[in-house]
């Protein structure tokens, strides 16, 4: 039996001569960073057994319903969602799933803020979540402008002065339904989707942030020369 040294260097390449290719290198880097077991783990750390850790996935679940109902609304259009009973039902599903999405996202945000979720090299996870939150608010606002009713007309005329005062009125006309619907169903959902996807990958990469360790446990660890972040993580896992 011969040992293939090239595939040992880059085991994700099917053939040794392909090991230098960009696809093989990218695949290798991706699998190295996030192996399948880490990407979709069967078990979570013991400290995750708390209701406050549930609100992240609840937010993602609500977002899935938002996207699915949005696709149905996009297929049939305003006449359907305003007139048909089924259309009204999907219109309501879209609205209420957005309400649940923001409700869960805010509780998730509070939970992560008070446990300082940026600890342990998780700054990018925190920042991506914050930006996703802000872009989601903009997406919701353009949704209000895309209802095609008197409510959206009223909101657009009220928002116009505000947008103009920021100087963005030249490129973003909130009274232009065509522009707002495109922002609402194409541009902003794309950005939210990319940010949420990246946010979830970062959570998998860095792990779920542990709660703070009890002060006495933390003091012992820090006294022993363990960096505060590591000490807090280790103490929380021991405690759990």
């Amino acid at each position: 039996m011969t040992i293939d040294t090239e595939t040992q260097v880059n085991p994700s390449a099917d053939l040794p001569e392909d090991a230098h290719q960009l696809t093989a290198k990218l695949r290798h880097a991706a699998v190295e960073a996030l192996p399948p077991q880490k990407l979709m783990p069967d078990r979570q750390p013991a400290y995750v057994a708390s209701w406050i850790y549930v609100f992240g996935i609840l937010t993602v679940s609500a977002l899935a319903v938002v996207i699915l109902t949005g696709i149905v609304l996009a297929i049939f259009g305003p006449n359907w969602w305003h007139v048909s009973t089924v259309g009204l039902f999907f219109n309501s599903l879209h609205l209420w799933s957005v309400e649940v999405f923001f409700f869960c996202m805010v509780v998730h945000l509070w939970g992560k803020f008070f446990m300082a979720a940026w600890r342990g090299r998780r700054r990018a996870t925190w920042v991506s979540g914050v930006i996703a939150f802000v872009i989601s608010v903009a997406t919701a606002f353009t949704g209000y402008l895309s209802q095609q009713n008197f409510d959206s007309q009223w909101i657009s005329t009220q928002a116009k002065d505000g947008i103009n005062s920021t100087g963005a009125g030249a490129i973003m006309n909130v009274t232009n339904f065509g522009q707002m619907i495109m922002w609402h169903i194409v541009l902003l959902p794309l950005v939210v989707g990319i940010l949420v996807g990246g946010h979830i990958l970062l959570v998998r990469l860095r792990g779920v942030v542990p709660p703070f360790a009890p002060p006495d446990q933390l003091a012992i660890e820090v006294k022993q020369g363990v960096p505060a972040d590591t000490a807090a993580t280790a103490a929380s896992e021991v405690q759990a």
């Binding site: 209701w51 509780v107 759990a240």
Partner: protein, 64 residues
């Protein structure tokens, strides 16, 4: 079926009547609708409950 839906509309509609202009609370320069304040209070309550209510852990300690 129509009777049932009419009854449902009456029952559900009688719980919270939304067929009126929004109510607002004013406190100095702060103005907030009752609906928004209700949602914020609900979020605070859910946040506190999520911390206090124990999570069911099948099989006890260790990784789950």
């Amino acid at each position: 079926m129509q009777t049932l839906s009419a009854v449902m509309v009456h029952v559900v509609g009688s719980l919270i009547n939304l067929d009126h202009p929004g109510h607002y609370i004013n406190w100095g320069f702060i103005q907030i609708s009752v609906a928004n304040l209700t949602v914020i209070i609900l979020m605070v309550i859910v946040f506190i409950l999520a911390i206090l209510i124990p999570f069911h852990r099948p099989g006890g300690g260790g990784d789950r």
